[in-house]
């Protein structure tokens, strides 16, 4: 392919290649003919990077500066450095809400991982292509079905006046949707499908031969899972867990629409501080809380990204 002479278009190609000087005199034996494309193609990435610098960079700077400046609406207070906001943000009610958020996310992500795996496995090993496509497309929809509609659907189902609640008189048995348990059940509604989506490629990557080899060596199914499949899947599973954790941690709308203040969550604390529900002039405290949230998320991502790369080793 590369040896084929390029008859007609060469002049046009050099003419348009942008960095004409460099590309025209390019190495005499180009490994690939596209060397001459090189010129200015990085220019096409400039808009994206510029956009990112402005719309992501500026808020990031605002958080970093705001979290460490004196919380005050007066313009004079803008320059005073303080760690007060950050200290406040990890104390008292705010600390409780951060802990509660982390707890809820860690728990729901764990349950989601444990429940998502068998569903994904059932899908992957199914003989019917239709089952696979149906479950995966349903997962795609449900994984994106966070937020308000989800909250309302569950209020209609298990809320105080919900259909199932009425049908089984759950309230008499002490059931409340507007609690930690209730929130867990609701979160699983989008976390389990998310897990199914994220683990399916890894399960697809498990070779049948590995299973056959294990069985030929008289391994039971349980042993195969314990010693072969799960170790291989582990990075993917952990990666999926982290994804679920992040999803649950960042969720705001569902909880905001459903539980109000009964379960303290960091995302709600930030929203309250921003809208001045608690006290006026807490804008910078909200920024400090956001910083806490980002720190948690960064830690989580620092686990996730290397794992993504590691799982590719076996399962590519």
């Amino acid at each position: 392919m590369t040896t084929a002479p390029t008859p007609v278009p060469t002049p046009a190609a050099t003419e348009l290649s942008g960095g004409a000087g460099a590309s025209g005199t390019a190495t005499p034996v180009p490994r690939r003919r596209t060397v001459k494309l090189r010129g200015g193609s990085w220019l096409a990435t400039v808009p994206l990077f510029a956009f990112f610098a402005i719309s992501f960079g500026l808020p990031a700077i605002a958080i970093a500066i705001g979290a460490f400046t004196l919380s005050s609406d007066a313009e004079t207070g803008a320059g005073t450095f303080t760690t007060q906001n950050v200290t406040d943000s990890v104390q008292g009610a705010y600390w409780t809400s951060l802990l509660s958020s982390v707890k809820l996310s860690a728990l729901t992500a764990l349950i989601g991982t444990v429940l998502g795996l068998p569903i994904a496995q059932a899908v992957v090993t199914s003989r019917f292509r239709a089952v696979r496509e149906a479950v995966l497309s349903a997962s795609g929809v449900l994984a994106n079905f966070g937020g308000l509609p989800l909250a309302f659907a569950f209020v209609a189902t298990l809320g105080n006046a919900g259909e199932i609640t009425k049908l089984f008189h759950l309230t008499d048995h002490g059931w409340s949707l507007y609690s930690f348990t209730g929130l867990t059940i609701v979160y699983l509604y989008f976390l389990v499908p998310l897990m199914v989506l994220s683990i399916t490629p890894a399960l697809d990557g498990l070779r049948v031969q590995w299973r056959e080899a294990a069985h030929n060596n008289r391994a039971t199914t349980l042993q195969y899972w314990r010693h072969v499949a799960l170790p291989i899947l582990f990075p993917s599973l952990l990666g999926g867990y982290v994804l679920l954790f992040g999803s649950a941690f960042a969720a705001y709308a569902t909880a905001a629409a459903m539980v109000g203040a009964t379960v303290p969550l960091i995302s709600r604390s930030i929203a309250d501080a921003l809208s001045g529900n608690v006290l006026v002039g807490q804008g910078n405290l909200a920024l400090a809380l956001s910083l806490d949230m980002i720190v948690v998320a960064v830690v989580v991502m620092a686990v996730y990204l290397p794992l993504q790369r590691r799982s590719a080793r076996w399962l590519s």
Binding site: A44, T125, E163, I294
Partner: protein, 274 residues
Amino acid sequence: MAQLISRVRVWRGVVLLLAGAYFLLPMGASVYFSIDDPKGFTFEAYTGLLGAPGFTDSLTLTLELAAVTVVVLLLLLVPALIAVRLGAPRLRPVLEVVCTLPLVVPPVALTAGLIGVLRWGPDYLMDTPFFQTIVFIQDPKFPIVLVLAYVLMSLPLAYRALDAGLRAVDVRTLVEAARNCGASWPRAVITVVLPNLRGALLNASFLTLALVLGEFTAASILGYQPFAVWIYSVGNSQAQMSVAVSVLSLLITWVLLLLLAAAGRERRYKTAHS
């Protein structure tokens, strides 16, 4: 062995049935809730929707925001991704990091940051272009600040979708072939590369659309009223209607996804048989 196989099948069926029950139950209960009435069934929650105050306004705003977000996102991302594949491979890790970073910042925190930036415009800067820009992007008729937030939030999703699409196509060879046939640069990209990315482009657009349709956090904290925020305000007064809207929004998402899958499949079918 036969016993093992049948046991496996039973197990699989049970798992799928249980999962199906859990995921269909709230749907069914929601539909029932939305039409349940002391006197029997009523479809008022659905029929009254169009006439509800704010319904059309908020829906229009959301659709406009979604359209602009999708266009901006694709215009930013597609050229960058193609360029990185063709001529700037060293920028690839940078691009990956840039497109993954928004995942680290939860929407609430991003919104807090945006508000922090918007507060940078004190009154004594009133006459400067900076201040004008800050006012301009907060125009309640079309809040550009929301578009910025949405593009950022959908960046990781769209990047993954497009990257996966590009991975399946040998962009280099395609462009070389097109260029060797005398196509200009824009022509090579638009008529040769983009059609091959149709599935990925649709996928990215759909994910973005779904995200914008359902986004509540940024819009509500910043004080605008697109569709999701409107549903929330309706939910406080008319529970049935809010549930009806939830059911509808799920159906719409589902239909969109099925259309997308169909489009993708058709494409695959064509390439396989041509």
